[in-house]
């Protein structure tokens, strides 16, 4: 379980970093180009939040991903058998 939480959190951190960079660029860079003040600060703020949320929920996301991966073929098999 500890290993799972560690992997989930690490995955969350990676995704959070990527998402954070994307948000920073979307918000901060665009605001700066348009001359709206405070854009960089807002972008950084949103990026940090994204990073933290992904870390916090990384394990949950991983658990759902595994659950979906396992359940999908089983459900499809059951549906195919019902049709047959």
């Amino acid at each position: 379980m500890d290993n799972f939480l560690l992997i989930g959190t690490a995955l969350g951190a990676l995704l959070g970093l990527l998402h954070g960079v994307y948000l920073f660029r979307q918000i901060a860079v665009r605001a700066t180009a348009d001359g709206i003040p405070g854009g960089k600060a807002q972008g950084l703020y949103y990026a940090l939040w994204a990073f933290i949320l992904w870390i916090l929920f990384g394990s949950y996301v991983l658990a759902f991903w595994i659950l979906g991966l396992l359940a999908y073929p089983i459900v499809r098999l059951v549906q195919r058998q019902r049709v047959a």
Partner: protein, 513 residues
């Protein structure tokens, strides 16, 4: 559109009066033409016990909230009064001409952009010229769609469209069959269940209901109207990298999420209930696709209980033909009924638009497609407000009106015609790849309305991220978007407070803020 001074608006429903308010505030000379003798569109003349199917805070003007004490799921007459008060509050009643039916539009004869409008009032016609015409006739009140079935002439009972059932009287003591499974159909069945001797509902396909409260606890807006849930839907036309990832390598998360939602609805609404011929109410279409169909609805809570109790007999089939005393269903069952209520929607009527213009709009069987659901590149100075079906229609029409106002004021520049045509083609390809077919698919936005609203705001340089406060990022992700988030946008006060950014078109055109 920079030289627009006079605007003719066709329709005084929500879209028409929102447009009149917005453009009048901008100093334009607006006239609204309404064929009925009351303003309000669908709200002026609804069916028995009709009302809003969303919580009141979701279905109101962003800059004119419903009065305190308004009941939730606002009853139709209350909402109609709200529209009347809106018109008085913003002092646009004098702009509205009731009983005035627009019978024709022709391009102006003086060579200027705009239209000559032919209007019929009390049997007489006259013509008025406008720089811009806004078609705000909506999607739900033109011509009732009444499918025919063989044997109709032999049927001895009455065949009604649900819009004709203004009170319960036509159903009292009768044996009634309702055809359809959308909001109108289920409402009609519930009205019949209150007074009729026997009630049946016949539908081709079941649809996933949206309960007023998920698991009986959480108002549905929390599960449907956030950016988080929006990211898990089938991707919008131009998905972000995150959404592309979620629907690529992250697909198992999306799949399990929607299956859990289906499980919740299955249990909560007991969709496994046995109905006629051993069938049940479980839809065959996955919810993430079904929710973009024509019949997405928030049923009244008592519906499924009455079906379980047998008060409403549900038949998952179609009508084969009429018999003298009722209907024969395709599953072989014959229903002895003396009232048939067809809750089968509406047909749009754009016959007042010249035929060459209608050709430009397109004759596709899933309706016509517009740039931003508002303009067609080949029809200058003709706009459509309200030609879009979302969950928060009042908000959407207000934002469309704001978009149009900004365009007229020069606050944004449209892409060139070729780019707009390409955008329309891409939208057709995107929708037709997965959205359920209907004659109204071209206008359907539904749960992608957040993305659509973002596009509109970005076009005229407003910030699409509307949540405020220290927890804004958290709210952006999890909190539902609702009309109150757009108050400043709709009222036109946003640019002073938030700072106007230049839309891409304005930037390239060298327009400065």
């Amino acid at each position: 559109m920079n030289d627009v001074k006079r605007v003719g608006i066709i329709g005084a429903g929500v879209a028409g009066i929102a447009t009149a308010k917005t453009l009048t505030a901008q100093g334009l000379d607006c006239t609204v033409f309404e064929k009925a003798d009351r303003l309000g569109g669908v709200w002026a003349d609804g069916y028995s016990n009709f009302g809003v199917q969303a919580q009141k805070e979701l279905y109101q003007f962003p800059d004119w909230p419903l009065p305190k004490g308004t009941p939730n799921f606002t009853p139709g007459p209350v909402f109609q009064q709200y529209l009347e008060d809106f018109v008085d509050h913003f002092d646009i009643r004098s702009k509205i001409r009731l009983g005035a039916r627009v019978t024709g539009l022709e391009r102006r004869g003086d060579g200027m952009p705009g239209w000559a409008m032919t209007v019929g009032v009390n049997g007489e016609t006259y013509e008025e010229v406008f720089d811009l015409v806004v078609v705000a006739t909506g999607l739900y009140s033109n011509t009732p769609n009444m499918p025919s079935f063989p044997g109709e002439s032999d049927y001895q009972g009455a065949i009604l469209h649900n819009s004709e059932v203004k009170t319960r009287a036509p159903l009292e003591g009768r044996r009634v069959v309702v055809v359809g499974y959308g909001k109108s159909a289920t409402d009609a069945a519930l009205e019949a269940a209150a007074v009729a001797d026997e009630v049946h509902i016949v539908f081709r396909e079941a649809h996933w209901p949206v309960p007023r409260k998920l698991a009986g606890v959480l108002p549905f807006k929390w599960g449907m109207l956030s950016r988080m849930s929006g990211a898990l839907l089938n991707p919008y036309q131009r998905p972000s990298p995150l959404v592309r990832w979620v629907h690529g390598p992250g697909k198992p998360i999306v799949w399990i999420f929607w299956r859990l939602v289906e499980l919740l609805l299955y249990v909560q609404c007991r969709l496994g209930t046995r109905i006629a011929k051993g069938k049940n109410l479980v839809p065959s279409t996955p919810i993430e696709v079904d929710c973009f169909g024509e019949s997405t609805m928030v049923p009244r809570p008592e519906l499924y209980g009455l079906i379980r109790a047998g008060r409403i007999s549900a038949h998952r089939t179609e009508i084969e033909r009429y018999t003298p005393k009722g209907v024969l269903l395709k599953d072989g069952e014959e229903l002895d009924v003396d009232r048939v209520v067809l809750a089968t929607g509406w047909k749009s009527d754009y016959s007042f638009i010249p035929s060459d213009a209608r050709e430009s709009l397109g004759t596709d069987d899933d309706g016509f497609y517009l740039y931003r659901h508002i303009l067609h590149p080949d029809l200058p100075n003709l706009a459509f407000i309200g030609h879009s079906s979302t969950f928060l229609s009042v908000l959407t029409y207000c934002l469309q009106a704001r978009w149009l106002a900004e365009l007229i004021a020069g606050g944004m520049v449209l892409p060139d015609q070729a780019s707009m045509r390409q955008d329309i083609e891409e939208m057709k390809i995107w929708k037709r790849a997965w959205m359920p077919f209907s004659a109204g698919r071209g206008a359907r936005v539904l749960l992608h309305m957040l993305h659509y609203h973002d596009e509109l705001l970005t076009d005229f340089g407003a910030n699409p991220l509307r949540k405020r406060g220290i927890l804004a990022p958290l709210k952006e992700l999890f909190a539902p978007y609702q009309p109150s988030d757009y108050t400043l946008i709709v009222s036109g006060d946003w640019d002073a407070l938030e700072g106007r950014s230049l839309s891409p078109g304005a930037r390239s055109a060298g327009i400065t803020s």
